[in-house]
C-alpha cells in the first residue's frame, strides 16, 4: 500500500472546520452519524454503505407467507472512486436477522470488546405521530441509516474490522449463514447467555470494571428517561404548532366578511398554516437526535456485557483458586491425620473405622494429581483474567473517547436544530406581524 493513498473515506458528513460548525450540519440529507476517521485497513480498502431498503415476501421456516425488509449493502474499492471513475459497486441484500446473527457472532467471539449495537428491533419511545410499525417507511429509512452506521462502526474498530466473518458478511451473499454456524459459535453463545444471566458473587472484581458496570447502568437509566421525556415533549409541541392551523382557517373565514381587514387577515392566515406545517420537519430532525441517543443507550448494554464477562472470568478464577485451597487442605489433613475440614467421608470413616494405609495412600495420590491439575487451572484462569482485563480495558478506554466525542457532537447538533427552529419561528411571526399591520 502506498503512503500517498488518500485517507479512508467513510461515507459520513465532513468534519467541521473551526468556522463552519453551524453550516456543515445544516445539510439535511439522510446521513450516518459522524465518526472520527479511523485508519483501519478495511476502510482503507473499501467504502461501505447500506444504500437501499426493499420489501420482500417469502415462505418462512414453518412454510408461512411473511413480509420482511431487506437492505442493500454496497461495497466499493476506495481507489477506484478516488480516481474519478465510478464503477458499479458490489452489492448484496441482507435482512435484519442476518445483522443480528453477525452481531451475536461478534459478541461471542470478542467478549472483551464493546461491540457496536444494532438499531432497535422495534420502534420504542415513539411520540404519537410517529408510527411504531416496523413496516412504516420512515422507520425503515431510519433503520437503514442505523444499519449503515453499525457496519461503519465495526469497520472502523481496530480489532473487529479484520474479522473474516464480518468481511464475508459484506461480500458473500450466499452461504454466509452456513459459514457462521460452522464456526461453532452457537454453542458458545448459549453458554455465554446462561453465564451472563446467572447470579454469582465475585470477591475481588477489578474496581474499574465495577465502576464501569455501574456507569453503564446509570447511562442506560438516564438516556431512557431522556428519550421518554423528549418523546412526550415532542408530542405536545406537535399539538401547539398544529392548533395554530386553526387560526389560518378562522382568519380566512373572517376575512370573507370584512372589507379593509380582509387582505391582511387572509395573508396572515397563510403564515399560520405555514407555521403549523413547519413542525413536521422540526420533529423529523429531532428523531435523528433521538437515534443518536438510542445508539448509546444500546452501547451501554454492550459495555455492561463486557464488565459482566470480566466478573465471570474473575469468578471462575476465584472458584478454581478456592477449589485448589480446599484440595490442599484435604491433603494436609490426610497427611497429618487431623481433620479440620468437615467431610462426609471423614465422619463415616470415624463411624465405620479408619481407612487402611493403602486406601489413604491412594487417596493422597489422587489429591496430588488433582492439586497439580488445579494449579494448572488456576494459572490458566489467572492468565485469562489478566489477558481479558488488559484487552477489555483498552477497548473500554477507546469506547469512552468515542462516546465523549459522539455525544458532544450530538448535543451540538441538537443546539443547531433548536436554533434552526427558532429562526423559522422568527421568520413566520415577522411575516405574520407584517400582515397583521395591514389589517
Amino acid at each position: 500500500k502506498q503512503d500517498a493513498s488518500p485517507p479512508p473515506r467513510v461515507p459520513c458528513k465532513p468534519m467541521p472546520t473551526k468556522n463552519n460548525l453551524l453550516d456543515s450540519r445544516q445539510t439535511k440529507e439522510k446521513r450516518s452519524f459522524c465518526m472520527v476517521e479511523k485508519g483501519t485497513s478495511l476502510l482503507k480498502k473499501m467504502e461501505i454503505s447500506v444504500a437501499e431498503a426493499e420489501k420482500r415476501t417469502g415462505k418462512n421456516a414453518v412454510n408461512m407467507q411473511e413480509t420482511y425488509t431487506v437492505y442493500l449493502i454496497e461495497t466499493r474499492p476506495v481507489d477506484a472512486a478516488s480516481e474519478g471513475t465510478n464503477p458499479v459497486p458490489d452489492s448484496l441484500w441482507r435482512r435484519y436477522s442476518e445483522f443480528e446473527l453477525l452481531r451475536n457472532y461478534l459478541l461471542v467471539t470478542y467478549p472483551f470488546l464493546v461491540v457496536p449495537p444494532l438499531p432497535e428491533k422495534r420502534a420504542e419511545f415513539v411520540w404519537h405521530k410517529l408510527s411504531a410499525d416496523n413496516m412504516d417507511p420512515d422507520f425503515v429509512e431510519r433503520r437503514r441509516v442505523g444499519l449503515e452506521n453499525f457496519l461503519l462502526r465495526v469497520a472502523s474498530h481496530p480489532d473487529l474490522s479484520s474479522d473474516k466473518i464480518f468481511y464475508s458478511f459484506l461480500t458473500e451473499e450466499n452461504g454466509w449463514k452456513e459459514t457462521v454456524f460452522e464456526t461453532g459459535f452457537q454453542a458458545k453463545a448459549d453458554s455465554r447467555l446462561k453465564a451472563l444471566n446467572a447470579t454469582f458473587r465475585v470477591k475481588n472484581p477489578d474496581k474499574r470494571f465495577a465502576e464501569m458496570k455501574h456507569y453503564g447502568d446509570e447511562l442506560q437509566s438516564v438516556i431512557s428517561q431522556l428519550l421518554r421525556v423528549r418523546a412526550r415533549a415532542a408530542d405536545r409541541l406537535y399539538g401547539v404548532y398544529k392548533v395554530h392551523g386553526n387560526y389560518g382557517r378562522v382568519f380566512s373565514e373572517w376575512s370573507a366578511i370584512e372589507k379593509e381587514m380582509g387582505d391582511g387577515l387572509q395573508s396572515a392566515g397563510h403564515h399560520m398554516d405555514a407555521y403549523a406545517a413547519s413542525v413536521d420537519d422540526i420533529l423529523e430532525e429531532e428523531e435523528h437526535y433521538a437515534d443518536q441517543l438510542k445508539e448509546y443507550l444500546f452501547y451501554a448494554d454492550a459495555l455492561r456485557a463486557v464488565c459482566r464477562k470480566h466478573e465471570l472470568t474473575q469468578y471462575e478464577l476465584e472458584m478454581a483458586a478456592q477449589d485448589l485451597t480446599s484440595k490442599k487442605q484435604q491433603r494436609e489433613e490426610l497427611a497429618t491425620g487431623t481433620i479440620r475440614t468437615f467431610s462426609l467421608k471423614g465422619v463415616t470413616s470415624k463411624l465405620f473405622g479408619q481407612e487402611t494405609p493403602e486406601q489413604r495412600e491412594a487417596k493422597l495420590k489422587m489429591l496430588e494429581t488433582q492439586i497439580e491439575e488445579g494449579e494448572e487451572l488456576v494459572k490458566e484462569r489467572n492468565a485469562e483474567c489478566e489477558e481479558f482485563v488488559k484487552s477489555a480495558w483498552v477497548d473500554i478506554e477507546r469506547f469512552k473517547e468515542q462516546k465523549d466525542h459522539d455525544l458532544r457532537e450530538a448535543l451540538i447538533s441538537y443546539a443547531i436544530m433548536q436554533i434552526s427552529m427558532c429562526k423559522k419561528g422568527i421568520q413566520v411571526w415577522n411575516n405574520a406581524k407584517e400582515c397583521f399591520s395591514k389589517m
Binding site: 431522556l226 412526550r232 405536545r236 366578511i257 436554533i419 422568527i426
Partner: protein, 398 residues
C-alpha cells in the same frame, strides 16, 4: 335645525337624557365626524391600584380611578376616586338606558366560569383591572358617552355622593315596565327592517362566530403550551442528572440543562403573555358581539313600536289626536335611533379594527421576541462549545 324643538327627549322607557346636549340626528352625525387625535384629547383616565376591603357582610375590591382633564364642565383638572365593580356596572347600565342604540364597550364579566379562578386571585384582579381601564377609556373616547353626566359623576364624585346619585335613577317599577314593553315589542316583531340593518345583523352573526372561534383557538393554544411546558420542565433536570455520571461530558450536559431551563422560563412567559394580553381582548370582542346583537334588537323594537302605532292610527277611530302625537314621537325616536346606530356602527368598526389589529401585531411581536431569546440561549451554548474545543485542543477541527 328644525328638529331641535320638537324632539321629545322622553324615551320609550320613561327615562330621559340630558336635553342640554344637541340632540338632532343631524348634529349627532356631525359630532361623530369629529376626529379625535392625541392633540385634541382632553381627558385621560386610568384605573389602577386594586385594594381589598373587608366588611362584616362582604369582601370586595376597589380600584383607583384617576382623571386628568382640561374640560370646562369639570370643576377641577385632576380627580382621584375609588370605585368597585358594581359602580362600573351601574355606569354601563346608565349609558345603555340613555342611548339604547349606541354601542357601549363591554365590561369584564362578573364571574369567571370556565377554569374557575378564585375571585381574589392576583392574576384575576389584574386582568379585571386592565379590562376596567379599557372600558373607561373607550367611554372617554366616545363622542357622546364622554359628555354623559353620569360619566362625569362616576369620575369625580366621592363615594357617598355616588351612592345617593345612583338612587336617583329610574325606579324599579319603571324598569319593570320597560322590560314588559320590550318583550311586547319583541313579540310583535319588525315588519320592514331597512336592508342596511339586516346586513348589519348578518355581519354581527358571522363576526360573533369568528371571534368566538378565535377565542377558543387561542385558549386551546394556551392549554397545549402549558402541557408542553410541563414536559419540557423535566428535560433540564434529566440532562443535569446525566452530567453527574460523566467526566468530559459533564460540562456540555450541564450547559444544555441550563439552556433547556432558560427556554422553559421563556415559554412560561410567552404563555402568560397570551393569557394576559390577547385572550382578554378577544374575549371583550366576544362580549361586543353580544352588545351589538342587543343594540340591533333594541333598534328593531323601536321600529316595531312605530309600526304598531302606525297601524293603530290607521285602524282605530277613537283618540286619534293623542295617537297621532304618539306616532310622531315614535317616528322621531326611530329616526334618531337609526342615525345614532349608523354613526356609532361606523365608529365601532374602526375601533374594532384598531383594537384587534394591535392585539395581533402585539402577539406576533411577542412571539418573535420569544424565539429570539431562545435563539440567543442556544447560540451561547454553541459558542461555549466552540471556544471550549479550541481551548482544549481536543476536537480535531481539521
Amino acid at each position: 335645525s328644525h328638529f331641535q324643538k320638537n324632539v321629545d327627549t322622553t324615551l320609550t322607557d320613561g327615562s330621559s337624557f340630558n336635553a342640554s346636549m344637541q340632540t338632532s340626528p343631524a348634529s349627532m352625525i356631525n359630532q361623530y365626524k369629529f376626529e379625535e387625535d392625541a392633540d385634541t384629547k382632553d381627558i385621560f383616565v386610568t384605573v389602577d391600584n386594586p385594594e381589598s376591603h373587608v366588611t362584616a357582610i362582604e369582601t370586595y375590591i376597589t380600584y383607583r380611578v384617576m382623571t386628568k382633564t382640561t374640560r370646562s364642565e369639570f370643576d377641577s383638572s385632576e380627580f382621584e376616586v375609588r370605585r368597585r365593580y358594581q359602580d362600573f356596572l351601574w355606569l354601563k347600565g346608565r349609558l345603555e338606558e340613555a342611548h339604547p342604540t349606541l354601542i357601549v364597550h363591554p365590561l369584564p364579566e362578573k364571574f369567571v366560569v370556565k377554569g374557575m379562578v378564585e375571585r381574589f386571585n392576583e392574576d384575576f384582579i389584574e386582568t379585571r383591572r386592565r379590562a376596567l381601564h379599557r372600558f373607561l377609556n373607550k367611554i372617554a373616547e366616545h363622542p357622546i358617552f364622554s359628555s354623559s353626566e353620569d360619566f362625569k359623576i362616576f369620575l369625580t364624585a366621592a363615594s357617598g355622593e355616588l351612592t345617593s346619585h345612583k338612587k336617583q335613577g329610574p325606579g324599579f317599577l319603571s324598569r319593570m315596565g320597560d322590560t314588559v314593553k320590550a318583550v311586547a315589542a319583541a313579540v310583535r316583531g319588525v315588519r320592514n327592517r331597512p336592508q342596511e340593518f339586516t346586513e348589519m345583523q348578518e355581519y354581527v352573526e358571522a363576526f360573533s362566530q369568528k371571534i368566538i372561534s378565535l377565542d377558543k383557538v387561542t385558549q386551546r393554544i394556551v392549554r397545549e403550551q402549558k402541557e408542553y411546558l410541563e414536559e419540557l420542565k423535566e428535560c433540564g433536570p434529566t440532562y443535569a442528572l446525566w452530567s453527574q455520571s460523566e467526566e468530559e461530558l459533564a460540562e456540555p450536559l450541564k450547559n444544555v440543562a441550563g439552556c433547556v431551563d432558560r427556554c422553559c422560563k421563556e415559554t412560561e412567559e410567552q404563555v402568560k403573555n397570551l393569557s394576559d394580553h390577547l385572550i382578554p381582548v378577544l374575549h371583550e370582542y366576544v362580549l361586543c358581539a353580544d352588545t351589538l346583537k342587543a343594540v340591533l334588537r333594541r333598534r328593531d323594537n323601536i321600529q316595531a313600536d312605530f309600526e304598531a302605532k302606525t297601524e293603530a292610527l290607521a285602524t282605530k277611530k277613537a283618540n286619534r289626536d293623542t295617537m297621532r302625537d304618539d306616532l310622531d314621537k315614535a317616528e322621531d325616536r326611530l329616526e334618531w335611533a337609526n342615525n345614532a346606530l349608523k354613526s356609532d356602527w361606523t365608529r365601532w368598526q374602526k375601533v374594532m379594527r384598531t383594537d384587534l389589529r394591535s392585539a395581533f401585531v402585539d402577539t406576533a411581536e411577542r412571539n418573535v421576541s420569544y424565539y429570539e431569546k431562545c435563539l440567543a440561549v442556544w447560540e451561547s451554548f454553541l459558542h461555549s462549545q466552540r471556544t471550549d474545543a479550541e481551548g482544549n485542543g481536543k476536537v480535531d477541527f481539521s
